[in-house]
Amino acid sequence: MTPLLQVESVEKSFFGIPVLKAVSFTIGAGRIVGLVGENGAGKSTLMNLLGGNLHPDGGTMRFNGNSYAPVNPRAARAAGIGFVHQELNLFPNLNIAENLFLTNFPQTGPVIRRGELHKRATALLKTVGIELPSTTPVDRLSNGERQLVEVAHALSFNARLIILDEPTTSLSARETERLFKLVRQLRDDGRSLIYISHALDEVLRLSDDVVVLRDGEVVGQGKATEFDQNKLVSLMVGRELKQLFPKGRSLPLRRALESNEVGAEPRAPLLEVRKVSQPGVVRDVSFSLRRCEVVGLSGLMGAGRTELARILFGLDPHECGTILVSGEPLTGSPRRRIRRGLAMLTENRRDDGLCLEASVADNIALVTLPNYTTSPLRLINFASLRNGLAKIREAVRLQPKLSNEQPVKTLSGGNQQKVVLAKWLLATPQVLILDEPTRGIDVGAKSEIYQLIRDLADRGAGVLVISSELEELTGLCDRILVMNRGRIASEFAPGEFDRERILNAALPT
């Protein structure tokens, strides 16, 4: 029997960095296939290739007996591959039936045959187990129900293969059970499903087959019964560590430095977070950050790490709890928190890290600009600003050939990130929050950024690093906190950096 989907030596690189390396696997008809791997292992890229959002650099795919190379998502749909995205692509201002048939309404002339529409929609909803009338507006649905509507959408064009990307992260336990029942039922109807999830126990419970990806390669595949959770974790993690990370100064030296700066209380916390909660985002988060310390914040996507960072920096509100810096409560806008010595490198450079159209100099100077002005008009002293820029450019090792006047959008990802770092370092922050500081940049720039972080901590700052790359955290940090569904689930001291244990703490229980 020919398999439903055959992926042969598929390759894909971004900016010369290989993300998928000769990936091959097959999916049989009527099978549930669990796809697992760490963040950045290449799962999303692989699924985007299947969904027609990206095109492979090499290799072939066959689907349903035909050669398969979708040019766009529509082509993928037409071929019979349905996609249920993590961020749901429904229109909340339309009702369920309209969302299901938006591009192919049953109609007479231009007029929708409403009876037919709702008959078909109701049938689909019944299949996926939604009891609501098909005229319910989507903005009234819970996340779980929206997930099921997306599955129904895939069924509306009779998809033979349905890809579910992290479908359970925002679902309650009951909704999850409901989804599983549906997935099995669809399998029994002869469809195949790819189930991507970090919840390994769910994967093992649900899947017929398992494919494990690591660093863009398939490192394990077979019947689900041949795997257990430990085996999966060790397959996902098992790569050799590269020498990327700077050695921190020896502990005694750092202690000496530290006591020099803070006097009698060497271990007094610099940043203290006490019982911070915000409904639906973070729950009862408490931790502290000391001088000269790099603390890692690990966890799965959607565990609340970025949200916590945004709360600390005053970008989002929190309902209860207090945040202290050097013992004083921290409140107000980011502007006030910057004055208290906070700095935050955000997850997404393009959206809120840089002014892409503006020059390198303007971007680096943005935070510290008020310090370079003279009253009454607050005119900028360009000479001293240039001095400051030159120093900080050297400190972050920004390529000297890049002109200060060059628009930032012409820079590579690594250099862009250095510009953002330079912007914050120029303000000599006491507490530096770094959200995914090395996302999308090459290895060389990565190791330079690690060195910068270490140096900063060695000079007395406290650094909080959020990263999805465990390797990065274990290599760089003095301590690692793991978040799980909005809580800090556990804490690991330097001696206990065990990648499998950290990963297990992050996985849903």
């Binding site: 890290g353 840089l354 002014c355 503006a358 303007d362 100077a365 943005l366």
Partner: protein
């Protein structure tokens, strides 16, 4: 042969790109417009016409500079023309010789100017608050303000112009050597503010990316409000010049210059998408539009033909903005 052609076309393309990118493109266009029209247009290249041109240019430059500041912040101020009208009327109320509040007083003219400027700033503050605090879309806020203020100016005067303004005031408009330095001073000040001050840098940052600006500790609300206040103030200053020139407080003053203001700023190169703009660019844009207006008038074209041409020009300007953003982005 082939290579030579391709080389030629490449260099042509490079040249075209360089011209399109140049800051002086609009100045070049002004020169082209002038030399092309001068032979056919009686009285274009005469000394008296130059005086006239400069007199038209000065107040327009002042309003357009304010508009540019708002555009840089990523907004738009459509209320400037009505601000000019209302401010003109209120100023005339204060100082006119018939029934002015300060009729005959030596302080009438300076007091009127202060009131006018204050009112302009107040209008700007209102616009700014509606945009930042109430999160209303700039174009609709300022459209409503435009309608309201224009209605207010007409209501206050029952549509009648106010004459007999003090001579000390009208001198501001009739004497070019007074009007020009005022306009130059104001735009010069705006230039310094934009190019060399903290406010200018913040303004551009907010226009480029308001989220980044916020994360970086820029008080983006205050900056945007500041831009609208500046626009209101400069519109009021322009109103002083216009009112003095006409020697009349008029409720329909400036009604016809909205297109000139937006057209001039956008043609000059200020982006409708925020972030980009320079006083010098605006000056070139104002020069271009004033020249065009002047030439079309001298050619004896009717008011409505000029209106159509200007309607086309603003679309063209917006098109250039889009082209600059998309085509030259690479």
């Amino acid at each position: 042969m082939n290579r030579a052609t391709s080389l030629a076309s490449r260099s042509l393309h490079l040249w075209a790109t360089a011209v399109l990118r140049s800051e002086y493109l609009v100045l070049l266009l002004c020169g082209v417009l002038f030399t092309a029209l001068a032979p056919f247009t009686p009285g274009l290249a005469t000394a008296s016409n130059f005086t006239n041109l400069l007199g038209n240019l000065a107040p327009l430059l002042v309003v357009a500079t304010g508009q540019m500041l708002v555009l840089i912040a990523g907004g738009i101020d459509l209320s400037v023309t009505s601000t000019i009208a209302l401010v003109s009327v209120v100023g005339a109320f204060v100082m006119n010789g018939d029934d002015g509040w300060l009729k005959g007083s030596a302080a009438a003219a300076p007091a009127a100017v202060m009131v006018m400027l204050g009112l302009g700033a107040l209008v700007g503050l209102g616009n700014g608050l509606a945009v930042t605090k109430l999160r209303m879309p700039p174009f609709i806020v300022t459209l409503t303000t435009m309608m309201f203020l224009s209605g207010l100016a007409v209501w206050l005067t029952k549509s009648q112009p106010i004459y007999h303004l003090p001579a000390g005031f009208t001198a501001l408009g009739s004497r070019l050597w007074l009007a020009l330095p005022i306009a130059a001073g104001l735009t010069g000040f705006a230039h310094v503010l934009l190019a060399r001050s903290l406010f200018g840098q913040w303004l551009r940052a907010v226009g480029f990316n308001a989220r980044t600006a916020r994360v970086s500790g820029v008080p983006e609300g205050a900056v945007v409000i500041g831009a609208y206040i500046a626009s209101g103030l400069l519109a009021a200053a322009a109103s002083v010049l216009y009112t003095a020139r006409l020697e009349t407080g008029s409720p329909v003053l400036g009604q016809r210059i909205l297109l000139d203001v937006i057209g001039a700023t956008v043609i000059g190169g200020t982006s409708l998408f925020g972030g980009k703009g320079k006083v010098l660019w605006t000056f070139f844009g104002v020069l271009f539009l004033t020249l065009l207006d002047n030439a079309l008038n001298l050619l004896g074209l009717s008011h409505f033909t000029i209106m159509m041409v200007k309607g086309g020009v603003i679309v063209l300007a917006a098109l250039m903005d889009t082209a600059r953003n998309r085509w030259l982005a690479t």
